[in-house]
């Protein structure tokens, strides 16, 4: 007798799906007060699962949304789908090695991910960085900030259903990415910062590309924003939506453009100047409205400020070495260091503890997207379900950073 192989086409075969974490209602009793409150449904309410593979969750984020009709009642973000344990990996690598692990954290602004740990390690070593290296670092970072903000503009429009702006913002981003590729050798995960300086000096290709780009950068930003700034659909779906006030924003610990759009002028470049920022002249744009539209406009203003900063950097660029004398194997004295920088998403921090060996004893990354994403919980209730993504996009979280 031939063995029967159960077929999925056979209606008699029951496919048993085990209860998984994908179930909207968890298959276990609620463990916390908040979970009990969220997963108790009242009359007329239902749970909708968005993600983790939803196209507009900017990576792999799962949102469990409690809705009543079309209105969102509550929201529960579920993280961890992109968790790679980078902190643990870095604690098992030596200091030079740890830097390249941080690249894929916030993958649209990788240079900032490298800068914070490098600055923390330099503190541990009491190392002075050559001035030219500091200038190159800031120059590369500001370029990366523009690339990141340009991508944000396209992404936000895409989440609202507009396809065109992302094509334009990719033109902008591509020019910068090519420029950085000429400088660092990589397009996305640069691995450019080194303890004590940078990997390579400015080269001819980078400078010529930079010169070309500086000629039309501002004009291009203006052109891109005309697509969106007065677009009726864009305005209807951003203005007045996702409004945060000053107190809530401070209490939520938001940073970057999200908090400056609420009227708090907190920018680490000013609040706690690092590198060569004290020598540069730039404004910290703020807005009072605190809604999605203000957050969008604020990033446009920041692009203009960054172009202004780059202009000064090129003109003030000093001569000299780009790397301090740093041995291959470094063993800092036991101690603790904290370095914070202003990344395109907010305050990006690195906390490193040395125990005298060649590996960091504790390597902690504070990622702004992780904190900013918390704001979706108080922001959503009362909004339409279709606006969830629009509001979330305006906070600009990058899941690589959120999930570490």
């Amino acid at each position: 007798m031939a063995t029967q192989i159960p077929s999925l086409d056979d209606p008699q075969v029951l496919v048993q799906t085990p209860a998984t974490i994908y179930d909207a209602i968890p298959p276990y009793a609620p463990r916390t007060e908040r979970e009990a409150e969220f997963y108790t449904l009242r009359d007329g309410e239902m749970l909708v699962n968005m993600g983790p593979q939803h196209p507009s969750t900017h990576g792999v984020l799962r949102l469990v949304v409690k809705i009543e009709g079309e209105r969102v009642v509550d929201i529960d973000p579920v993280l961890g789908y992109l968790h790679r344990g980078i902190e643990k990996l870095a604690e098992n690598a030596d200091y030079h090695h740890a830097i390249c692990y941080t690249d894929p954290l916030e993958y649209v602004s990788s240079l900032f991910n490298e800068l914070a740990p490098v600055m923390a390690f330099e503190q541990l070593l009491d190392l002075r960085v050559p001035r030219r290296a500091e200038y190159i670092r800031v120059l590369a970072c500001e370029l990366n900030r523009i690339a990141s903000h340009a991508l944000f503009m396209g992404w936000m429009a895409l989440d609202l259903g507009g396809l065109t702006p992302i094509l334009y913002s990719f033109i902008e981003r591509d020019e910068i990415v090519e420029m950085l590729a000429a400088l660092t050798g990589q397009r996305m995960l640069f691995n450019y910062m080194r303890i004590g300086g940078v990997n390579g000096d400015l080269n001819h290709e980078f400078l010529s590309r930079l010169g070309d780009w500086m000629g039309h950068a501002l004009r291009q930003v203006e052109a891109n924003t005309t697509l969106l700034n007065e677009n009726e659909i864009f305005l209807k779906r951003t203005r007045g939506l996702g409004r945060l006030d000053r107190r809530t924003a401070l209490s939520l610990g938001l940073s970057g453009p999200n908090i400056r759009a609420c009227g708090v002028p907190y920018d680490v470049r000013r609040a706690h100047p690092y590198s060569v920022y004290p020598e540069l002249e730039f404004a910290i744009p703020t807005r009072e409205e605190g809604d999605s539209y203000a957050r969008y406009l604020l990033r446009v203003d920041e692009i203009k400020q960054s172009i202004h900063i780059i202009d000064q950097l090129i003109h003030q660029m000093p001569d000299g070495p780009v790397m301090a004398n740093v041995p291959r194997r470094i063993t800092p004295r036991p101690g603790r260091a904290w370095a914070a920088i202003e990344s395109p998403r907010g305050q990006y921090g690195c906390y490193a503890i040395s125990d005298g060996t060649d590996q960091p004893y504790r390597f902690r990354i504070h990622d702004p997207s992780f904190v900013n994403l918390q704001a979706v919980v108080p922001l959503m209730p009362g909004n339409l379900l279709a606006d969830t993504m629009a509001v979330m996009a305006s906070l600009d979280p990058v899941m690589g950073g959120v999930d570490k």
């Binding site: 974490i21 968890p26 276990y28 463990r31 916390t32 007060e33 908040r34 979970e35 993280l79 961890g80 968790h83 344990g85 902190e87 643990k88 990996l89 604690e91 098992n92 503190q123 809530t248 401070l250 209490s251 939520l252 610990g253 938001l254 940073s255 907190y266 609040a271 706690h272 036991p334 101690g335 603790r336 260091a337 904290w338 914070a340 305050q347 921090g349 906390y351 503890i353 040395s354 125990d355 005298g356 590996q359 004893y361 504790r362 902690r364 504070h366 992780f370 904190v371 994403l373 918390q374 108080p378 999930d403 570490k404």
Partner: protein
């Protein structure tokens, strides 16, 4: 109180956390309104919780370290009543170190799956493919209990107190 670079460090006991942080946050002389970071640290024989604060009254970062938490049952009062945004960072510290923040309304795991049992960033949690350990120690499964067997290498003790 210690001072190095642009950081001022104070160390407090778990019982004083609420009073110290509330004073730093509310007192008009301090006004540490920005919670820059909340991190857990495993020193090998005790747990620590580290807060980084920023205030417009001083150019320095303030580092508040809650020291000497019991490694078996680390407990600290939650600071979510001052900074709502501390909630997820406390969840992360709980997820990675098993530190319990009393008063946090939502102390679930944030990265690891809900049925996960160990705390990955503790120093006695070894990576399965940790090349820095000798092959003679064998490969330990990631999900093994976090207390190491006697035969295995001792926890990497910190000299950074």
């Amino acid at each position: 109180m210690r001072q190095r670079h642009d950081q001022t460090e104070i160390r407090i006991a778990a019982g004083a956390t609420v009073d110290v942080l509330r004073t730093l946050h509310d007192d008009p002389a301090f006004r540490f309104e920005v919670l820059a970071d909340l991190a857990g640290v495993d020193t090998g024989d005790s747990m620590q919780v580290v807060y980084h604060l920023w205030s417009e009254t001083t150019p320095d970062w303030l580092r508040v370290i809650v020291v000497d938490l019991d490694r078996e049952d680390p407990r600290v009062p939650s600071t979510t009543f001052l900074w709502k945004g501390a909630e997820w960072m406390e969840r992360e510290a709980y997820d990675m170190f098993g530190i319990i923040f009393e008063g946090n309304r939502d102390l679930r795991r944030v990265y690891m799956p809900p049925d996960y049992t160990s705390f990955p960033l503790r120093k006695d949690f070894f990576l399965a493919d940790d090349a820095s350990r000798s092959p003679a120690q064998g490969v330990r499964h990631m999900e093994q209990v976090h207390a190491p067997a006697e035969s295995l290498a001792p926890i990497r003790r910190s000299r950074a107190r």
